[in-house]
Structure formats: C-alpha cells, structure tokens
C-alpha cells in the first residue's frame, strides 16, 4: 500500500475516479437481490462478490446510499452484551472492524478507544459483574472497575459523590470503539461495485411475485426483476417490506434521537455511557461531542426531533460533564429503530425458501455491519445458516427461546 501510494503521488497526471458508479439500468434478472443499500446490505454485497464469487447482484435502495439508519446511528462498536450467543457474534464484528481499513483499502477511521459504562447503583454493579464474567468467558476484554479507575480513565467526569447519581464503579470494555459510518458503507459499496455488484439508488421495492414458498420477482418503481435469492435489510421499514412478502415480523418502530455539539478541543478519549441516565457520549475525530440516544416513548415512524428528548439527553450529558453547559448544539436527528421483543436482531431464514432476513436491528445495528454482512453472505451463498446465526432465528419467538439483551444498551427504551 505505501509503495502504491508513493507511485501514485509521483504520477504526473491524476485521473479522476468515482468510488461508487452511477445507478445503471435494471437488468431483467439477478442471482441475488439485496433490498436496502445501507451498511448491512452493502456489506453482504461485498462478501458475496469478493468472497463467494457471486457477482450478479443488485442492491436496491429507496433513497440514497447509506442514508437511513447507517447515517443516523451514533457509531458505537462494542461486544459487551449479556448472553454468550450475542457476545460471540458481536465479538466477531469488533474483530472485523479492527482490520477493516486495511481489508478494504479505505480509511474507516476505526478508533478502538474503549467504552466505559457507569454504575450508579449496587444493582447495576451486580449486572456488570455478570456481563464481565460472560465477556471474559467468550474472550472479550471486559472488566468491572472501581471508582478510582473510573477517575483515571476519565478524570473530568462528575462522580457526583454523595449525590443522587453517585458513580459507584464501571464496566470497562477495552475492545469498544467507534468508526466513521459513511466510510464503512462507502468502502463496502466501492469494492462490491468493482466486482460487478449493481447499486440502484432511488429504487423502491413496491411488491413481490411469489410462487408457492419462493419469491420469483421483485417489483420496484423502476420495473420488475427476477431474483434467485432475496436479502432484506431495510432498517426502520423492515416490518412493511416483510409484510409485502407475506412475512409477519415481531417488530415495533420507535424513533431514536441523538445530537452533536459544536466542535471542541479533544477532552474525551473514551466512549462513556450511563444506563441510569440513558445517555452516552463520544467525541468524534472532528471534536464534536455525539450525545445519544433517547427513544421516543411511543411507537412512531417519523424522523422528526422533539425538544423533550433533546432536553433529556442534554440533562444526562450535563450531569456527567457539567462544564459543557455553554456548549451549543450543532445538529440533531432521529432514525427509525425496528425494535424486537428481546432486543436482539432477527437474522437468517424466513418462512420463504429464498428470502433471507437481516432485520430487527433496533438501536444496535451499526456495530454489526461487517459481521452481519459476512454471515448473511455465507448464508445466502451456501443456503445454510451458520451456527453463530442460529440463535437469532425468527422462529425463536414461537419456541420462547428469546435472547434477552434489554439491559445491554444505554439507549433509553
């Protein structure tokens, strides 16, 4: 890489190039149709085309590339979950992020700075011990730390000693990190399209043609195409798209709101979150403090923002860092999260033979972009769901084999 860069730098003429081609005309038939041009869909397209040799692929995106929840999440990457099945899966995701910039030849700005979750009660501390032990068992870097260590990790944090939200300890997850969400999607899109994957932006799925328990054609606003296999990964619209295919999903939609402050000098070099305050903060490489994540208290499929949620997030952020009180907000936004009853995603088979699901990603989907793409590609290429995905099957709700991860996030819901 450095030599090729040097060679490129010494060239007299630099031809302009386009990472992601313009939307082509739709062909009549594709081996794989991926619905949803977000991180997950593009990662699946990348692995299918670069690893499994399937190149006749169309990615259909209703809006613009990676403009949905891929653009709206708060880019937390971690594997400090509660159940063994989840940790195993998310750990693989973190590992893929560690080598992603090199693998893709595309700087995704992965910064493995560690995540600290704060405990403000004995009960939270007990749940942290459970998470730490399970994490160590699976092989992630995670430990419960005392107040002194919290102070060392984040010296300017308000410990609120003697107060209502006194910090009693923390869960330190050294594997935690952050990356640039756009770059992740663009890197996958670039390498997928180099191998012949067609990315169709502003192409909305309007229905399906079914024959028995197979989908034969996908109808779009630009025409109908034949499909060998179909992967659905459409974020907030998963319930609606699945319904068009005749599949019912256990999903409820809530907007998740977040915001960033104006850029500040670097002062926060870890990810910090508090489950009690329902707030988490991370300082981006531009210096903006990203503050997330408040879910609206009732079901809604709108990306509007509300003052209530912004005040709630600001309250939590100011409690942890009171010196931010004069800092101005720069941007605010919301994304529609597709929440499952057990706060775990739904991946793998659907009731249809050639229709695969990668949905129910709620408030926690970005960190799984590479691993979901990799494993869903493996599933589609082989027609067989790998062991690591089996616990996330849609049928787990029929057999009450839930994978409860409700307490493993600081987002309020």
């Amino acid at each position: 890489m450095p030599f090729s860069l040097l060679k490129y730098g010494l060239l007299a003429r630099h031809a302009s190039f386009r990472d992601i081609p313009l939307t082509p005309e739709l062909k009549r038939s594709y081996d794989v149709v991926i619905i949803g041009g977000g991180g997950h869909g593009l990662a699946a397209a990348y692995y299918l085309s670069n690893v499994h040799g399937i190149r006749n692929i169309a990615v259909l995106e209703k809006g613009y590339l990676a403009g949905g929840n891929t653009a709206r999440n708060t880019t937390t990457i971690r594997s400090n979950y509660m159940t063994e099945e989840s940790i195993r899966f998310y750990k693989e995701g973190v590992e893929l992020f560690e080598t992603m910039s090199r693998d893709l030849g595309f700087n995704v700005m992965f910064s493995q700075r560690g995540q600290l979750t704060l405990a403000h009660s004995e009960a939270t501390l007990r749940s942290f011990h459970l998470r730490a032990e399970m994490g160590k068992h699976v092989g992630t870097r995670i430990e419960v730390v005392d107040v002194q260590t919290v102070k060392e990790l984040c010296p300017h944090l308000n410990l609120d000693l003697g107060g209502q939200h006194e910090v009693m300890g923390g869960l330190w997850h050294a594997d935690g990190g952050t990356a640039r969400h756009d770059a992740v999607a663009w890197g996958y899109a670039k390498h997928a399209s180099e191998r012949g994957v067609e990315i169709h932006q502003r192409t909305e799925v309007t229905g399906f043609v079914r024959a028995g328990d197979r989908v034969t054609h996908v109808k779009t606003n630009r025409g109908t195409i034949a499909a060998g296999q179909v992967l659905q990964a459409v974020g907030g619209l998963n319930g609606q798209v699945a319904a068009m295919a005749g599949i019912k999903l256990p999903i409820r939609c809530f907007p998740l709101q977040a915001m960033v402050t104006q850029p500040l000098k670097p002062f926060l070099d870890i990810l910090i979150s508090s489950a009690n305050l329902h707030t988490y903060l991370v300082q981006s490489s531009r210096g903006e403090v990203v503050i997330g994540g408040g879910s609206d208290p009732y079901q809604l499929a709108s990306t509007r923002s509300t003052l209530d949620q912004k005040e709630h997030l600001a309250e939590g952020a100011l409690h942890l860092f009171p010196f931010l009180h004069k800092v101005k907000l720069l941007r605010q936004w919301a994304g529609i999260t597709d929440m499952t009853p057990d706060y775990s995603p739904i991946m793998g088979a659907s009731p249809l033979q050639n229709y695969w699901l990668d949905c129910g990603w709620g408030t926690w989907g970005f960190k799984a972009t590479p691993v979901a793409g990799k494993r869903m590609a493996e599933t589609i290429a082989s027609g067989r769901v790998p062991d690591v995905l089996k616990p996330f099957d849609l049928r787990r709700f029929d057999s009450f084999a839930l994978l409860n991860e409700m307490g493993a996030t600081a987002a309020s819901h």
């Binding site: 019912k248 256990p250 079901q299 809604l300 499929a301 709108s302 509007r304 709700f397």
Partner: protein, 83 residues
C-alpha cells in the same frame, strides 16, 4: 409541547401521559393467539388505536393516532367508543 386530550381532563401536555401500547387484536387468553399477543404487536404505518393513561388522574383511555404524522385523531374512554 405536544398536547394530548384526556377524555376526562381535556388537553394536557403529553408528558403527563403514559403510553401503554397498541390495542391488541390477539388475546393472551386464547392459547392459539398467545405468541401473537406476546410478541407480534401492531405496528402499522397510519392511524392506529392505542392505550394511554393520564398519570395524575389515573385515567386510562384509547387514542387514535397516525404513526407517521404523529397526529392525534381522537381520544375516548374505552366504555364510550364513538360510532
């Protein structure tokens, strides 16, 4: 401030209310509907009926609300459903 009209107390700030989820078609009392009622809650794009509670007065009522525009169409007590 968003207003929600309590059928007993009139228009109040929505922060005074607790959302209790959609009015469910499936019943947990029926064994064949148990999984549906536990996990498959209504999640439409459009007007939907849902349970709300005005917390200070403990008034439980039904609201009809549009899940995309967030517009509240009607609120009424469950015993007095309008025709």
């Amino acid at each position: 401030m968003k207003l929600l009209t309590c059928p007993v107390n009139g228009p109040r700030n929505i922060t005074e209310f607790q959302y209790l989820g959609p009015v469910r078609a499936a019943s947990a009392e029926q064994p064949e509907q148990l999984i549906e009622s536990l996990f498959y809650a209504e999640n439409p794009l459009g007007v939907t009926r849902e349970w709300w509670r005005h917390t200070p007065s403990n008034t439980v009522f039904v609201a009809e609300r549009h899940t995309v525009s967030d517009q509240i169409v009607a609120t009424y007590l469950p015993s007095r459903k309008p025709a």
